[in-house]
Amino acid sequence: MNIVGELALWTALPVAVWGMALGFMGGRNGRGDLVLSAERAVYATLGLSFLASLGVIDLFLNDRFDYWYPAAYSSRDLGTFFKVSGLWAGQRGSLLFWLLLLNVFSAIAVWSNRRKNREFMPYVIGVLMTIQTFFLVVLLFAEVNPFERLGFTVADGQGMNPQLQNYWMTIHPPTLYLGFTAFTIPFAFAISALLTGRLDSRWITVTRKWILLSWFFLSNGIVFGMRWAYEELGWGGYWFWDPVENASLLPWLTATAFLHSIQIQETRGMLKVWNMGLVIGTFLLTIFATFLTRSGLIESVHTFAENLTIAWIFLGFMFASAAVGLVLVLYRLPKLRSESRIESFLSRESAFLFNNLVLVAATFAVMWGTLLPLLSEGFMGQEIAVGPPFFNRVNLPIGLFLLFLMGVGPVIAWRKASARNLRKNFVWPTSVGLGTGAILWAIGIRHGMALLTFATSAFVMTTIVVEFWKGTRARARIEGEGWLKAFYHLIARNRRRWGGYIVHVGVVMIFTAFAGAPWNTDIEQTLEPGQSAEITSPFGHTYRLTYEGLSTNINDRAQNLRWQLVALMSVEQEGERVGTVQPEKRQYFVGGNRDPNTGNATEVGIRATPYEDLYVILASVPQIETGMSLNDPSAQQAHFRIMIKPLVGLIWSGIMVLSVGGLIGLWPATEKPRAAKSSPGGRRAVAAAGD
């Protein structure tokens, strides 16, 4: 299988080049036969990358330690699930995985458009194949071939780092990659629009679902990473403004901006050049994200080992793509003229524009902060760096403003909001927002940023709830439906709008979670079995954690554990027993001949409630190292770090709400247009449904 896989990888290159050439030629010369062959090339490369991926997985499953890649990342005792995930665990495999996903999406895009958008498709195929060619060239010629042989056989592989052997870490890269690669489709359509000169909003209407799909995966992928960091790294944090984290955030920021600005192009025919810039920019940022992770140019605990060959190739590709995009946009400038103007500062267009402005500003700020070491070294000869204080200082106000806009944008009128419109629609939300702020102030909350966040969140939630309320009521009245049915139909008839509102609810929840950070509490205590520690939550109640004892698990081959120490702690809240937490320390067998200490893992004990997390770390068990028998009670003395993390659970529930909203927006429209229904209020324009 692996031989077939390797061959498939090599075969894919000429096929991709063929598809690239024929796509462009067929489009240029109107040759339907060439275009058909190019379409087939898309399906062929899908099959070939699939075979190549199977080949790599085969190497892992069969412990082929005569190949470099499995020898470096796998070991005989690694669980099957994780052996399969070895495909994307390392640099090489992850490039192949990227290629595979790109192929899947390309094939879907070509197949679903085999009878539609025909003027676009030849060039779309050309662009997609060009990008595939690039990845194949990298895989085959930049010393990152997953099928590279060692020339000798190692008895056992190096093993997979235990921190990777975690559910969240396994799904986090693939989800992000799904987001990155899905965005290639809108990019391809944009370039195709530039090449064919069809620069109205059709290319946007066609790719809208792809943009949302990409954004959906990016959002989830980023939050999965946060979940992993929170549960696995054991520091109580979920975001560190690490360069690789930032790299994945950048395309998310611009994709969010793009999701909003396309609505303006669709309804008012404005921002055409801006949208072209955003789609090309977002695509470049997806490539940049993977470039940063691989080139080793920025020091990060996440980067792959430095590989300059790859760095140069990626850099070259990014420059070439940017140049092509720029030239095409300049060439088509006359056709990208705006069809109307912003009429008022107080309008939905204006809110969307500000949304875009701050998101792009945040992108710029994060990029600046991330690249600062490189830029300062280059221009000043002295490397300087900034960390979380910088990123928080810049992004918190931006986030707050964005939160505010989320409440304004959906409600304010298009073109020009009258004073009446403002009064009517913002009286309630503003009152609730201010009221919330006042109440929180009254109960003693003085942290400025948090206070503003909570108040603005209340403002936004009110606008959304009122929208749903009014919409459902109007529909129930007009269509004569029961409220539940009206609610369902309201959303079903305009999925994009109402799905978007639900997404906003998710975002509000996540921002609210962030605002809980100033109240993070933590204590440290050394305890012997029977002793307790107390920690008071910002919500007023006190937890009492009693250390019951340490249980051990030695040489558990089934779970690959050299040893495992589990500290059992019972938790009481205000005198009442509410549960247990079990922080652990573990050491895994990591295969090969490595030092035993490499397989360390700290498993945090978390007791999560909707409003706060009790987060316990088993920091050390001092006597264990002296070899004392565990029967001696003082041997079980353990040092704990106990934290309270208010509101963190809202991040995980928030992303689920966001996902529901996203799925609603993505759901294909299946209803046929209905005939207008007679009713006292007047005929309905339901025929125009179909979002």
Partner: protein, 157 residues
Amino acid sequence: MPNNGRFMVGLVGVAAVVTYLIWTGVSETMVYYLTPVELIERFEEDPSFREVAVKVSGEVVPESYRKGQGELEHHFEIVDLEDETATFPVRYVGILPDTFNDAPDMLTEAIIEGRFEEGTFEATLLLTKCGSRFEASKEQLHDQMQLQEQMPADHIG
């Protein structure tokens, strides 16, 4: 394009605020990012540089780890990746990252942030290179293979 004066004011305003935030953000929170060699050179040039907060990236000196008095106190030494003579002791109070390792055959890269106090670097931040990204080179694997051939089959423990 926008023809409303208030709009332009708003746009320029936002841009100005963000620029201000970035500018002050960098100037107030930046740290010098150095290798141990560069840091030591800087001291020699300018002794008062010892007081400045810096970020250093280097390698953990094998077998240099010692536990401190406090539960979460750790001592180790850091050395430049390229110049073995550039080394100094580090003291870090906090939870040791799981990937921290001072084994002789493991190249553990570390990033620390803090400042010097009487000859020891007081680190407020310690990050060690994510082990998943450690890629054993062909040479290392080859050496290992040869070692394994000489060792008994059970190499665990």
